[in-house]
Symmetry: C2
Subunit: 407 residues, 2 copies
């Protein structure tokens, strides 16, 4: 460590969430408290802001402003999809040294944790005293060794509220409703649609996740069976569903495929998957009133749909990260562990335990048939969603005797 | 009128909304209060439920159940897209006579008001004593002679919250974001996206409504200009935008077009329009990170996004309808009028004043350029949205001096 007052740098990476700013504010407030003579810098647009020395001095931010920012969705510092390689890291260090940064906090998903790992290893190799802590964030809930990740629960709440409403709409004007949910490899967010159900025949009646191979004939048979039973069908589908060869159904469709710096195919921001699946249902099953929605960016950014449990935990992982940096004695990734039913505990994992790895839904969270969640998933999800969803009512009045009995 | 106790029939038609059940419950509660010895029937799935004698006896519904139903989105009785012709009406009367119905309340949009008109005229022609009252409902806000319609404000609130979040997301990961909003002929709901702005450079930066002719070259030039100025652009587009010949841009795209019983092209339930416009921006402007969402059915059904002003007024139009039926002395359509700033007044319009007519945005509500709303629209909309949207914060901290000044 330098003899000078500690200098903290914080940045945000990857897709924004409803609560990533809670983690940012947790870092800023705790760093200002623990290192009162130090500085707290924020890099604008993630690692790109570091190599560009695009810093703002968060030591000069008011508490009032920080609290407003904490309650605001998306990433207040700006984000990036850049993934640093060795050369990129060399640029990062040049800047960190020049600014005498001693603590680096990066809030992001598994790609971002890999960035932190590379930076940490590079710092050690260069003999530069830098404490690096990764702070988890992802609506996909796909970080290994975490019970769940900040951002997931608020997005899950959005998905549940969306499907609860879509189910009611579909019951009023019966037909097929299909909603495509974010999730490339992990189906957690799509599975959250199941939390929309309260009455026994509520939708979604079918849930398809990337953990299961998607077979079109089986899908169509399952839709047909639900429609025959209920006269309607509500379906939740992950954008990442794929065939037995591993090729995503969305990718099979797209004439031109857009990839980000991590090599990921761009799945969101297009309604193509929903449209194709609806077309199949119309053509193969001859059903009418087939409607598809792609929930899109609203899932991670919608203003005013947030789990207060998620907010609280996102704030605390930021605070914990600073505590670990001050007292933990090593670099790492903050993780949320489940203690009891329900309490959140926190741990500092080695960066290599998390970085670049992808958690998917454990088999016991899915139904044996592969087209629904298991009760264990609902038990897992419920405490994360925060306040109960708005209660939903149904008319219970008895039928009136027919007098003409024409129909 | 029959010597017997009055018999009330209520039904819901057209697209569901977040508050149409408030109007239903307003009718039921007020009818039970005013005609205590009478019966209150509900027809399941609108006029189709009438010809099928598919009635439930709402006299036997508890207050607790009614209040739960009132707070539930979609249409608790079920809805329909059927539009009765003369033959259909003959069937309706056969059933109404057989059940000795004396009051008929139909909650719906301008298609439904036309149904009520036909039924009312038929009843008069047949000398059957039937009081018919249309109760307004539509997220499109397209009923003439109404300041606004129940259901619009809650959908508008959803659209505003969606664009507020999308704007923040777009600022964090800059690029182009385009959201397609419901609205076939009237742009009110798309215009509500403008209520998402709080900072001067907040999106949506461009708003396109069906009231203005959509020209692709002009659209692309406007997107390019905003992107050049801000490095990003958020765009709200009505699904009903059309070219100078009146042909909708969505319809130009669709290889096969689905029409409902009213001859309306099915515009919702597909992401095609957003995808086409994004493709144009990518190809013609060469911009990266172009993302399109279609807000879809969530706009009218999302659970837990509601304007309490809308809820209150939707309840009252139901209650007023019963009051008018009991004391108004003629058939008609209930309308909301604006009194002062802001109070809602109510009136009973002749059915012919509303039925089958479509209101569009008045010119003074739109900017002269035709790609935004005018301040008058924001003034008009704000009191309808209910509680203020969640406040949004931005970091205000000063920049840190560069030490390497590479970039």
């Amino acid at each position: 460590m330098s003899d000078q007052a500690p200098k903290t740098l914080v940045a945000q990476g990857g897709g924004p969430t409803a609560v990533i700013n809670q983690s940012l504010v947790g870092v800023v407030q705790e760093a200002r408290r623990i290192w009162p003579g130090g500085a707290v810098y924020g890099a604008r647009h993630g690692v790109r802001g570091i190599i560009n020395e695009d810093f703002i001095d968060l030591s000069q931010e008011t508490q009032a402003s920080l609290e407003r920012v904490a309650a605001t969705p998306a990433a207040a510092l700006g984000s990036t999809r850049d993934k640093p390689d060795a050369a990129y890291c060399a640029e990062i260090f040049k800047v960190l040294r020049a600014h005498e940064i001693t603590q680096f906090f990066y809030i992001g998903g598994n790609d971002s944790s890999d960035t932190v790992r590379i930076v940490s290893e590079r710092a050690q190799a260069d003999g530069y005293a830098l404490r690096c802590v990764h702070i988890p964030k992802t609506i996909d809930n796909d970080l290994v060794e975490n019970d769940h990740t900040p951002g997931f629960a608020s997005a899950a709440r959005f998905v549940a509220q969306a499907f609860a409403g879509a189910n009611l709409d579909n019951a009023a004007l019966p037909g097929i409703y299909l909603g495509v949910v974010m999730g490339r490899h992990a189906g957690f967010l799509s599975a959250a649609a199941a939390a929309a159900r309260s009455f026994p025949d509520d939708g979604p009646h079918l849930v398809y996740v990337p953990e299961k191979i998607f077979e079109m004939p089986q899908f169509l048979a399952e839709v047909k069976a639900v429609h025959a039973r209920l006269g309607r069908c509500v379906i939740a589908v992950s954008e990442g569903i794929h065939d037995a060869s591993g090729k995503s159904i969305a990718e099979q469709l797209a004439s031109t495929v857009e990839r980000d710096a991590h090599g990921n195919v761009q799945l969101s921001g297009s309604g193509a998957l929903a449209d194709l699946l609806c077309e199949q249902i119309k053509q193969q099953l001859g059903l009418k009133r087939v409607r598809g929605d792609t929930l899109g960016y609203l899932q991670r950014s919608f203003l005013g749909c947030v789990s207060e449990v998620d907010q609280r935990e996102a704030r605390e992982v930021g605070e914990r990260a600073v505590q670990y940096a001050a007292h933990g004695g090593r670099d790492g990734s903050v993780a949320i562990k489940r203690i009891g039913d329900y309490q959140a505990g926190y741990a500092l994992l080695p960066l290599t335990a998390v970085a670049g790895k992808t958690r998917v839904m454990e088999p016991h969270l899915l139904s044996a048939e592969g087209n629904d969640v298991a009760p264990a998933f609902l038990h897992y999800l419920r405490p994360l969603l925060g306040a109960p969803l708005s209660p939903v009512g149904r008319l219970q009045a008895p039928a009136v005797a027919k007098r003409l009995a024409k129909a």
